[in-house]
């Protein structure tokens, strides 16, 4: 029995990174908040790079609660889309050329979003990860948490329901 040789690592990595850039890089609001995504295999970590304009209360100072909510929502949508895209990126069904032309499935839409504020966000970078707790044909549930210096002390957690984009 012969198996095709595995693809060279840099080819696989380039295709994955192109997919991620196509997904997150073209959304203006993600640039407005200066959020980027670190990728290790299929795991994504959102990074919201600190900027003065993200401050809500200048006296503390603390990150604006709305910005923290938005960071969690962005991370939830991108992580869900990424999970949906992963198979096609891995199989090569979505080629690098397709991805560069922007041939991506449409983004899921948020139905509702609920956030718990646990601690004030400090004026520094914040990180977030999302977990898809249910992914159905029409709806998905996504949980997310954001933290700063210490992952064991999250600043906020969220729960979102999303409507899947219709296929085709």
């Amino acid at each position: 029995m012969t198996r095709p040789a595995p693809e060279p690592m840099q080819v696989v990595k380039l295709r994955r990174d192109t997919a991620l850039a196509a997904l997150a890089g073209r959304v203006p609001y993600i640039r407005f908040l200066n959020i980027t995504f670190d990728r290790r295999g299929d795991e994504l970590t959102g990074v919201m790079h600190f900027d003065e304009k993200l401050i809500g209360n200048p006296q503390l100072p603390a990150l604006h609660g709305g910005v923290t909510a938005a960071f969690l929502e962005v991370t939830s949508i991108i992580c869900l889309s990424w999970a949906l895209l992963w198979e096609d990126v891995e199989s090569g069904a979505l080629s690098r050329g397709d991805l560069e032309r922007g041939a991506l499935p449409r983004l899921p839409k948020t139905i509702d979003f609920s956030v718990d504020y646990l601690r004030a966000g400090l004026p520094r970078d914040a990180y977030a990860r999302a977990q898809v707790t249910r992914s159905g044909r029409r709806y998905a549930s996504v949980r997310a948490e954001a933290w700063q210096d210490n992952h064991a002390r999250p600043i906020a957690t969220s729960n979102a329901h999303l409507l899947m984009a219709p296929e085709g």
């Binding site: 401050i55 909510a69 938005a70 449409r106 509702d112 979003f113 609920s114 956030v115 504020y117």
Partner: protein, 141 residues
Amino acid sequence: MTTDKTDFALSFMSALPQAQALGLEILELADGVAVIRMPYSEDLVGNPDTGVIHGGAVSTLMDTCGGAATIVHPDNAGGTATIGLRIDYLRAATPGQAVTARAECHHITRAIAFVRATAHDDDPDRPVATATGTFTVETLA
């Protein structure tokens, strides 16, 4: 009317860097009610194919508006922080139109303010989002 408080809240809310970055305009602010307008901006777009603004920007508007309503409630002596916020996205905001939120602190205890909010674009009869939130209250020492 609690004019001193409204003045304080106006200057406080206007100084928030994120509120400035979003270009938020305070239209009403008194007695536990706040109305805040967020102009449309290309920077806030969440779907580049349609130009619809991102839900996250609406979240920030709702949070700001709920906090502002809490600050100007007569029974709250100082500032506030959000404890929890839930938003229902009823429909996409029409691209190119401002989104205006109205938040009302409908119940307040010594520790907690309960807030309801609604946001709409140019069509006030069809809201784009509703929200409920809980906020901290500072009592007079």
